[in-house]
Symmetry: C2
Subunit: 356 residues, 2 copies
Amino acid sequence: MSQTAQPPAGPLGGAGAGGRSSARPTLEEVAALAGVGRGTVSRVINGSPRVSEKAREAVQAAIAELGYVPNRAARTLVTSRTDSVALVVPEAETRLFSEPYFSDIISGVSAELAETDMQLLLILVRNQRERERLSAYLTAQRVDGVLLVSVHQDDPLPSILESLEIPSVLAGRRGDLEPLSYVHADNAGGARMAVRHLLRRGCRQVATITGPLDMEVAQARLGGYRRALEEAGRPYDEELVGLADFTEEGGRLAMRELLERRPDLDGVFCASDLMAAGAMQVLRAAGRRVPDQVAVIGFDDSIVARHTDPPMTSVRQPIEEMGRTMARLLLEEIAERGRARRQVVLATELVVRDSA
Amino acid sequence: MSQTAQPPAGPLGGAGAGGRSSARPTLEEVAALAGVGRGTVSRVINGSPRVSEKAREAVQAAIAELGYVPNRAARTLVTSRTDSVALVVPEAETRLFSEPYFSDIISGVSAELAETDMQLLLILVRNQRERERLSAYLTAQRVDGVLLVSVHQDDPLPSILESLEIPSVLAGRRGDLEPLSYVHADNAGGARMAVRHLLRRGCRQVATITGPLDMEVAQARLGGYRRALEEAGRPYDEELVGLADFTEEGGRLAMRELLERRPDLDGVFCASDLMAAGAMQVLRAAGRRVPDQVAVIGFDDSIVARHTDPPMTSVRQPIEEMGRTMARLLLEEIAERGRARRQVVLATELVVRDSA
DNA sequence: CTAGAGTGTGGGAGCGCTCCCACAGCGCAT
DNA sequence: ATGCGCTGTGGGAGCGCTCCCACACTCTAG
């Protein structure tokens, strides 16, 4: 027998006012109180210029008095806008994220959306079944746009979005000719910076440990490594390239192999902090001092970079800003309905600590 | 001039079928095709038992043929259910989370919700203004329930939820007599386990570094420390208690003070991994070997625990399961509309590594 | 003066669904 | 035969909004 909801508890207080019920006020009631028609109230709410000053004020007063809040469902029903966007994260990727990544993306997206009255829906996709459900979901037009965190080249989700023609923005891209809008960090530039730092420090044999090369990020970081070497007139030596998978264990394995192949190496650029952490452990176990004998640089500037011994030099990507930018691009795309592809590359930065 | 959406691309293919338009099919069209009334289709969709087998089959066939998906807005408009829940995270708390915390909570919540067709809305609240907006938002009944991640005793959000009488579940609780439903880890038990481990290991002077005592988690962990000592017949000595704020820097400060006050200490239980990491740094700088001279245990089993030197023994809380449980409780609470308070305490676990 | 173009306004129609009432059809007890 | 209940069904009403048409009223030009 209890009430489902409280009265709005507006400036005039709750149930007191006598006549009016405690249910949520509707646009119609606002119109009645303001002495205008429904159309006018709607126009005021939606910021139409075609309303007289007098009417606008009356309506606004009525809205304030009643504590009126528009019913989103009713609006959606007629406009078929939902005023919400989805952030879609394939669960598999989740394991690859450098640690505060996810929170930072969310934080950025949410910050940008806070200005608007867009809702943020979070959708984690953990398997094929859920991928199909997502497809159905999106086809049913339940969101105005999609932010997709996806890194693998063979992820089917981007193509789905493409064919659905729903406004969407990717974090990262599948390749150079990514047809969808995307935001990503300057991975190549960051890697180049890191390797130049190693060279400038006097390293003669700079190795690298890469991520899986079916990911554009991994390719780009390897590309930056290569470019820096070439710019310095050094040969690109495949023996100095260790393939791994972004994980700590992968980093350890790759480092051991590298050490065996090229015991003379004196610098390692790792495409992730986790791999760098693994590499540092192996180096230490092999009796090499970091950074004196071997300098190490990671990528991501994640939490672990601050907690290795010695603290790790790493390339920082502006993840929160990526989130913010993604949201902004998506809002633009939704607003204009025109399918202009947008791409933003954000600068990376070398955070120098003690490992290099 | 471009189409807003693609046809459903159902089994029968898109625009081909001639008569029917490419717009999303409505319940009415399903009814027509199935040769029944709207009511019957609605009953089938909502799983009412009062439908003949024959009608049900006809309707299901029609749904499949048309690729029909119910319009959520229309349903919401009449039922005033939204089929969505919000996960509310005060931004301030975000900084206190041990690192994969946020992702793990989300992952758990999302996993539980995936079974249902509930949507997950994510709301980050970063300041007073947004707190007010959230209030308005919730008053407008835009979600069926709320999951709140909040740890501070003086957070106003829980009280707001309480007075709004909206189904809600907290991660953590404000105190013993938390009136809202909540899920939390057995912090006291975990702390007790950790301290017992230290004692069993032979530590004679076990110190602790606590979090801010206006947080129930911090209190509970301190309580567990105290209890373990008392059970072992040791006195609770305030000199061995260092107050900090869950941060690494706080851990360092507290450790220095502790070391000064009680140079004889040989074990430290820290209420967070970050503080433990800070403490370990200070111990090393002071020339104390961990774990030989001073054993250290952290709390959270976060990423950093695996990356300190030596790797840290820490108390693990089942965060993903907390998320899952929160979602489950919330669904129950929404389903029954009865405001029965639910509380679940999940067991913690000591992960033994090298620091103790 | 009238015609015409603009401005501001009210309110009908209708978005796609659920709710609920009315009613048909059946079996069973009276 | 009549009455009653129960099951399954169709469809009207209506949720709260936006869209858009019609209209009143103003102002300017002819």
